[in-house]
Amino acid sequence: MLENLLTHSAFEILTLSDRAAQALAENPWEAAGYTLLALGGTGAFLSLLGMALIYVERKVAAHFQCRLGPMRVGWHGMLQSIADALKLLQKEDIIPEKADKLLFFLAPVFSIIATVLALIIIPMSPSLQVVDLNIGVIFISAVGGFGVLGILLAGWSSNNKWSLLGAMRAGAQFISYEISVTLSLLVITLLAGSLQLSEIVQSQQDGWWIWRGHIVGVVAFFVFIISSTAELNRPPFDLPEAESELTGGFHTEYSGLRFSFFFLAEFINMFIASALGATLFFGGWMPFHIGGFETFNSIMDLIPPGLWFAGKTAFIVFLMMWVRWTFPRLRVDQLMRLEWKFLLPVGFINLFAAATIVLTKLYFFPGQ
């Protein structure tokens, strides 16, 4: 077992769905167990992760601003998010009289479903991935589009001018920045030669794409970070819910549990974007390897892959928080200009450069 761990062959992909399929052949009860595990685990993971992220965001923000943040519920306010969640559960659920009730009800559900769908294909460690689709990258893009549908519906169904403005902003912003995200995803797909996330991770055995792909990788990473922040509606691109402009944007009319769905989805989406960035550019759960230095690589392998993944994701999450608590917000036209006049050309040039690099094998450690 131990010697297995010390070599690369330890990283066998075994997703939860595969295990369920295997088990189904052998023992249907075990299969049911795996299904339940996947479902329940995802649900629990979702809420716990969301609450943890909210807590971390509040604490980090506080310390950026020379204050302490939540202090009074639990040790250093550890249970603050649980208190918030319990309170939101108890809040009265208001549906405005003139709202489109069906769509008003569906919008947060869409939002959270999109989040769950995107979460299941993130490879968190070799053995912790729910489904390993062979079109993973495209799936993520598609599901992200589904999420913005929830926002659009929320804005439309609330029957509130500010909500509608926010939703329209969200739509325009998402569609624009989706192009850039996809372009930067395509760069890695080109380099790795696969759309499957687990294979992309495996392809970084000799080094992460951010430095194996040198210029192309770094540019793609920055394009990805900027445009995925914009997709997430996080500051400095939080125009759809810009507090000082649109009061609450698309979720102005939502209260209680439904609002908490949006709130949760926003934070989980941040995790997903960070996890995707970590997977594509920092090798996901793959330890830090340098092609050819076997001793070094095996020392790195001592750290479990799950930790590697968590660390890298946390880094990108922190980066996003750092940006959020430093920068002011852009204006609508500036946002669009940034995308169409700057990021899009850069993305295209970068894609061509990536293609050239793949053809000429100019990246580091091409042969292995």
Binding site: V60, H63, F64, Q65, C66, R67, L68, M71, R72, W322, V323, W325, T326, F327
Partner: protein, 241 residues
Amino acid sequence: MGYIDTKKSTKAKVTTVGNTPINVVIAPRSPSGADSESLLTTIFKSVKSLFVGMKVTIGYLVRPSTVVTQQYPENRETLKMFDRFRGQLRLIKDENNYMNCNGCNFCEIACPNGSIVITDQRNPVNEKLELERFLWRLDSCTFCNACLQACPHDALEWSDGFEAAVYDRRLLVYTLNDYAGPPVKAINRAKKKEDRVEELLATMEPRKQYGGPVPLAGRKMPGVPALETENTKDNASPKHK
């Protein structure tokens, strides 16, 4: 549309408004005309400015000593207001609990919004006007200090009780005097002349206070350490006969 360098381009010169020469500093603008910078320089400076901003915020994150938060309910024992802090109005009393106020109404007249209501009575012994009840409406007081300024007898002062939140607005009307009766000056004068002192003191009637520096004084609140201060003792019901 270049980048504005706030440090460099500040220009100082003299202009005139009317005939008065005035030294002015002119706001920096982005370089234009001959000084204009190339696109690459602009992009470089712009991106650099973003990182400079990020450096400022991370500087505070990594230095926990910059946290300036005072944790209020926890630091309640050590929290001290400044000496002149206008917390709550109270009557100055001497060591025997006799007040200086003789009910002269000056503060009531000076009060801009009727937050002080004074009723007087005539003392049966020395037949002088004296304070019957000094009512102070904390719910409408604006802490303008006009009453202290107007008081000719040095009878009022501010205490530092800022904890006065209540559930019922009616509890914010305070009776400031412990007793209705002669002020300390009248008592001293009577003592000096040795003239009917006992009778004079007997005319004092206690006035029950339902307000005070801390309405919840001495009560325990969850999450709040119980408070035993001088104020609470002052607020105890009067010890007069």
